[in-house]
């Protein structure tokens, strides 16, 4: 019983942390939903600890030691999360590069003795497709 109370307290704490982060706009919608879902699952799991739901599910999928189920799902979740962050990082880096290039092009300097028309420096609108999500 004491374990259940401790577990529940931790889960509720995490839920409160998530909600306050969303309220202070520290999380964006997509991530906010994810973390809210995670904390709700945690609360649910700890609240139903005395009902042996976990043990039954573990038994159903053939896991002898029920806490291993949590461990396995947790590791899987973290793995997917890190992978998602890794791909977002790559996308961010790509966008950064495009922005840096555009800044450089906007700041392009011509040598003082450039004859009129030489090099024809003019900035046409970028054709880079704009991605939104």
């Amino acid at each position: 019983m004491r374990a259940t109370v401790l577990d529940l307290a931790l889960s509720l704490g995490f839920l409160i942390l998530t909600i306050s982060a969303v309220r202070r706009q520290r999380l964006r919608e997509q991530q906010a939903l994810l973390w809210l879902a995670v904390s709700l699952v945690m609360v649910l799991l700890s609240a139903t600890l005395p009902l042996h739901v976990l043990d039954r599910v573990a038994h159903l999928v053939g896991i002898a030691y029920p806490p291993d189920l949590i461990l396995m799902l947790g590791v899987l979740f973290l793995f997917l999360l890190v992978f998602h962050l890794s791909t977002s990082l790559a996308r961010q880096a790509e966008r950064n590069t495009t922005l840096i290039q555009e800044i450089g092009l906007l700041k392009a300097k011509l040598p003082p003795d450039t004859p009129a028309g030489a090099g024809r420096v003019e900035h046409l609108p970028s054709h880079a497709p704009v991605e939104s999500d």
């Binding site: 790509e94 495009t98 840096i100 450089g104 700041k107 392009a108 450039t114 024809r120 900035h123 991605e131």
Partner: protein
Amino acid sequence: MDRFDEPATHTDDGCRLPVGLQICVIVPALNESTTVGGVVASVQQALPGSRVVVIDDGSTDDTGARALEAGAAVIPLPVNVGIGGAVQTGYRFAARNGFDVAIQIDGDGQHDPAETRHLLGPIVSGEADMVVGSRWLGRGDYLAPRSRRFGMRILSALVTWRAGATFTDTTSGFRAVGRTGIALFAEHYPPDFPEVETIVLGRRKGLRIVEVPVSMSHREHGSSSISGLRSAYYMARVILTLLVGNSDWSSS
């Protein structure tokens, strides 16, 4: 009919440049203040009337000022984006300003600007969309350390296989590209190993690519971005990219 199956080698010397041909010379430079001025000056001597554009890839010295003094246009990138991103900036500049030919030449004095004419030949005559200057086709006496030559041979074999034509010097950053290639590279340019990958990418997109012999000197100053233990790591990454990459990079 299908010239892609012939060895991609071109040995034509020199050429007469058509009047009005707009040439943009792309010079990526990172902390090359001692050499960049000389490179710009000799490019202008070799190709009078061309527009030399130095991409200052976040240098901490006065590379940009030196290049401007020497008469180049300078594109100052506020932070370092690496060789691929820097060169692509040059292609974007060339594409937006309507240049007919872009020539890539390193800012460290390794390439001899006088030889840009050899690169221009096949493009001016309409035989190729992209010309790569190769160290291994007989001109000059460039000799890389044995380990590096071994690596280059592996890359050459891989690119030859992936691109479906023979290429001897896949890491050469001494190139000329016509209008089709400029438009392609302005939008799609591999960020990590541009020299090697653009050959494969170009071929996939239907560019006619040939190699011409050039001589290269050893670097005047500074050190290659690839050295020591890193070269093994570099090789592993290039090989991975060549094997699993789809050679199609979007720029946004």
